[in-house]
C-alpha cells in the first residue's frame, strides 16, 4: 500500500517536471503546444544514446539532456513557434501535431520503433524496506531530484525579480508589456527552460516510462490532464495535479488493471466540466 503511494508520488513528480513547462507556456502565451512531449523524448533519447553508445555516466546525461532540450526549444521557439502566437488555437494544435508526427517519424528512422532500455548505475538499482514499504532506490532518487527542482522553481518564481516579471506576464500580458516588461524575452526564456525541464524529465523517466517513438503522443494526454486539473496560473496547481494523477494512475493500474486508463480520462472530463479553469486555481475572472 505504502509502496504504491511511494511509486505514485515518484511517478507524479516525474510528470510534474515533464509538464510544468507546458503549463507555464500555456498560461503565459496562451499557446497550446501539444508537441511538448517531443522535447521530453529528445532528452530521453539523448540519454539513451550517450549511455548505450558512448558509455557516458548517467549523471552527466541529466544536465546534457536539460541543455540540449533547452537549446532545441529556444531554436524552435524563435524560428517556428513565434510565428503562431497570434493564430487560432486550432492552428496551434495542428502545428504541434505536425511537429509530433515529424519527431515521431524522425526518431523512428534514427533509432527504430522498439522501446529503448538504459542500464542505470548499479547503486541506483535495488530496493530497501522502510516502515513496511518497499522503496526503489531509483524512485527515491527521482523524488529527491524532482523535489529539489520544484523547490527551486517555487523559489525562482516566488522570490526573484525574474519570477515576479513572469507572474505579472502570466496574469496579464498586455499590462505587463505596458509596464516595460519584455514579455517576448521572458517567454523565450521560459519556453527554453520548460523544454529543458521536459528533456530532463525524459532523461529521468527513460527507465520508468517507456521510451519509444510514440512517446510524445502517449504522454500528451497526461500533460493535458495535468493542465486540466492543475490550471495554468500557478505551479503549485500542476504540482498537486501531477502527484494526484501519478498516484491515481499507479493505484488504478495496480488495483483494477482491467479498466486501464478509464479512471484518469474520466477524471479529466469531469474536472473540465465542473471546473473548466482547473481544480487548484484561484478563481480569477478576466
Amino acid at each position: 500500500m505504502l509502496t504504491i503511494l511511494f511509486d505514485g508520488v515518484a511517478y507524479g513528480m516525474l510528470l510534474f517536471v515533464l509538464s510544468v513547462g507546458l503549463c507555464v507556456t500555456l498560461g503565459l502565451m496562451n499557446f497550446i503546444n501539444l508537441a511538448h512531449g517531443a522535447f521530453a523524448m529528445a532528452g530521453g533519447y539523448l540519454t539513451v544514446v550517450m549511455m548505450n553508445w558512448y558509455g557516458i555516466s548517467f549523471y552527466w546525461c541529466l544536465p546534457a539532456a536539460f541543455i540540449v532540450s533547452a537549446v532545441l526549444g529556444v531554436v524552435l521557439e524563435r524560428t517556428l513557434y513565434s510565428r503562431l502566437y497570434d493564430k487560432t488555437h486550432l492552428d496551434q494544435v495542428l502545428f504541434s501535431i505536425g511537429l509530433i508526427f515529424v519527431a515521431t517519424a524522425a526518431v523512428d528512422y534514427a533509432m527504430g520503433a522498439s522501446q529503448q532500455i538504459i542500464n542505470l548505475p548499479d547503486h541506483l538499482n535495488g530496493r530497501f524496506e522502510f516502515l513496511g514499504a518497499s522503496i526503489g532506490v531509483y524512485r527515491l532518487f527521482v523524488i529527491v531530484i524532482c523535489g529539489l527542482l520544484t523547490v527551486g522553481l517555487q523559489f525562482v518564481i516566488g522570490r526573484t525579480r525574474f519570477g515576479s516579471r513572469l507572474r505579472a506576464s502570466v496574469d496579464d500580458g498586455r499590462v505587463a508589456r505596458g509596464l516595460g516588461i519584455d514579455v517576448t524575452f521572458i517567454f523565450a526564456l521560459t519556453f527554453a527552460f520548460g523544454s529543458g525541464l521536459a528533456g530532463l524529465g525524459g532523461a529521468l523517466g527513460a527507465s520508468i516510462l517507456s521510451m519509444d517513438p510514440t512517446f510524445p503522443l502517449k504522454y500528451m494526454i497526461y500533460f493535458l490532464i495535468v493542465i486540466a486539473v492543475g490550471g495554468t496560473t500557478t505551479i503549485t496547481g500542476p504540482f498537486f495535479a501531477s502527484i494526484l494523477l501519478g498516484v491515481a494512475d499507479v493505484a488504478g493500474k495496480y488495483f483494477v488493471p482491467s479498466i486501464g486508463g478509464f479512471i484518469i480520462y474520466s477524471i479529466m472530463v469531469l474536472v473540465l466540466i465542473f471546473r473548466p479553469e482547473g481544480l487548484f486555481t484561484r478563481s480569477v475572472r478576466r
Partner: protein, 363 residues
C-alpha cells in the same frame, strides 16, 4: 478558419432581395458537377477493359477509392461542426468507431440475413448509435474555450477507445470484430471481392449525406450556424438559440460520422479498435484542414489528397510517411490559409482579376 465563407457570394448574387441572393448562393455550379462526375467516372472505369481499353491505375485501387469516400464523409462531418459552427473537435474518431461497431455488430448477429444485417438498416443503426453518444456529449462542448473543447472531445474519444478495448465480449477486444457479413444492398447487389458494390454503395451514401449537408448549410439553419461561428454573443443577442443549435449540429455531425464508420465496417467486413484510435480523429481533422474548412468539399478533397499521399508515400518509405504529413501540416499552418480550396479560390480570383468577365455574361 474561413471567416469569409458567409460573405464570399459570387458578385452576380449580391443584387436583388435576400431570398434570391441565398438561392443564388445555393445553386449547383459546374465544378460541383465536375467533381461528382469524376467520382462516378472512377467507378465506371472498371468497365473500361470490357470496352477494349485499359485504365492503368483505377480498377485495382477501387477499395482505396471507397475508403477515400468514407474518410471524406467523416471529414465532411467534421466540416459541419468546425467549418460552419466553429466547434473545434479532436474526438470525431469516437463517433466513427461507434458507428463502425454498431453496424458491424448488427451485421454479425444478423448473420448475413436481412432484416438485421441489411446494410442500409445497419447504417441507420450506426448513425443513431453515434448520434445518441453525440447528443449526450454535446453538452460538454457548449462551455469552455477551444482548449477545453479539444481536451473534452479527446477525453471522450479516449474513453470510447478504452471501452472498445476492454469490452472483449462484445467488441472482440484488440482482435477486432470478425465475421461482419452484410446482406445484399437493397436486396440486389452483393458485396463482391473486387469492391465494385462497395464503391458504388459508398459513393451513393456519401453523395446522399453530402447533398443533405449542402441543403442544410444553405438553409436558415446553416446560416445561423455561421452567425454563431462569427460571433456567438451577437447571435444570441438577436435571438438565436445558440446552445440548441450547437447541440443539434454536433449530434448531426456525430450521426454522419457514425454512418461513415458503419460504411467502413460494412465494406471492409471488419471492425477494429483502430477505427476508434486517436489517429482517426487527428487524421480526419487534418483532412479537413488539408482541403479547407467551411466548404463541404474541403473534407472530400482533403481525404483524397491525404489517402493518396499516404498510399504513395507508404510505398516509398513505409512507416515514415508520418514525417511528410507532419511537414506538410506545418507548412500548411504557417503559409496557407484554408487548404487546397483556399489555394484554388485565391488562384481563381487572381485569374478573374486578370481577365475581367464580359459585361452581361452573368445575368
Amino acid at each position: 478558419m474561413s471567416a469569409a465563407s458567409a460573405t464570399d457570394l459570387p458578385a452576380a448574387a449580391t443584387a436583388g432581395p435576400a431570398s434570391l441572393r441565398l438561392l443564388e448562393a445555393a445553386r449547383w455550379r459546374w465544378y460541383e458537377f465536375l467533381f461528382w462526375g469524376i467520382a462516378a467516372a472512377c467507378g465506371l472505369s472498371v468497365l473500361a477493359p470490357a470496352l477494349g481499353f485499359t485504365v492503368p491505375v483505377i480498377p485495382t485501387k477501387l477499395m482505396l477509392l471507397s475508403e477515400i469516400l468514407i474518410l471524406g464523409l467523416l471529414a465532411l462531418s467534421i466540416d459541419l461542426t468546425l467549418g460552419y459552427a466553429g466547434l473545434v473537435t479532436l474526438g470525431q474518431g469516437a463517433f466513427f468507431g461507434i458507428g463502425a461497431y454498431a453496424a458491424g455488430l448488427m451485421a454479425k448477429y444478423g448473420a448475413g440475413v436481412a432484416p438485421l444485417s441489411d446494410p442500409l438498416l445497419g447504417l441507420l443503426g450506426a448513425g443513431l448509435a453515434a448520434s445518441v453518444v453525440g447528443f449526450a456529449t454535446s453538452f460538454l462542448v457548449l462551455r469552455g474555450s477551444d482548449l477545453a473543447r479539444l481536451m473534452v472531445t479527446l477525453g471522450v474519444a479516449l474513453i470510447v477507445e478504452e471501452l472498445v478495448n476492454k469490452l472483449k465480449d462484445i467488441t472482440g477486444g484488440t482482435d477486432g470484430l470478425q465475421g461482419v457479413m452484410s446482406s445484399k444492398v437493397l436486396g440486389i447487389w452483393d458485396f463482391d471481392l473486387y469492391g465494385y458494390t462497395a464503391f458504388w454503395y459508398a459513393l451513393g451514401i456519401t453523395f446522399l449525406c453530402f447533398w443533405f449537408c449542402r441543403r442544410l448549410v444553405n438553409s436558415p439553419f446553416g446560416y445561423s450556424l455561421r452567425a454563431i461561428k462569427g460571433n456567438a454573443l451577437r447571435a444570441r443577442a438577436i435571438g438565436m438559440p445558440v446552445n440548441a443549435r450547437l447541440i443539434q449540429v454536433y449530434t448531426l455531425s456525430a450521426f454522419i460520422a457514425g454512418v461513415a464508420g458503419g460504411l467502413l465496417a460494412q465494406t471492409t467486413q471488419f471492425a477494429s479498435p483502430d477505427m476508434v484510435a486517436f489517429h482517426r480523429s487527428a487524421d480526419s481533422l487534418l483532412m479537413v484542414i488539408f482541403g479547407g474548412a467551411g466548404h463541404l468539399y474541403g473534407g472530400l478533397i482533403g481525404a483524397a489528397i491525404f489517402r493518396i499521399m499516404q498510399d504513395f508515400l507508404s510505398n516509398i518509405t513505409p512507416q515514415y510517411w508520418l514525417f511528410w504529413v507532419g511537414i506538410v501540416l506545418i507548412l500548411l499552418v504557417l503559409f496557407v490559409r484554408n487548404g487546397v480550396i483556399g489555394l484554388l479560390m485565391a488562384a481563381s480570383q487572381k485569374y478573374i482579376a486578370k481577365v475581367p468577365p464580359k459585361s452581361g455574361a452573368l445575368k
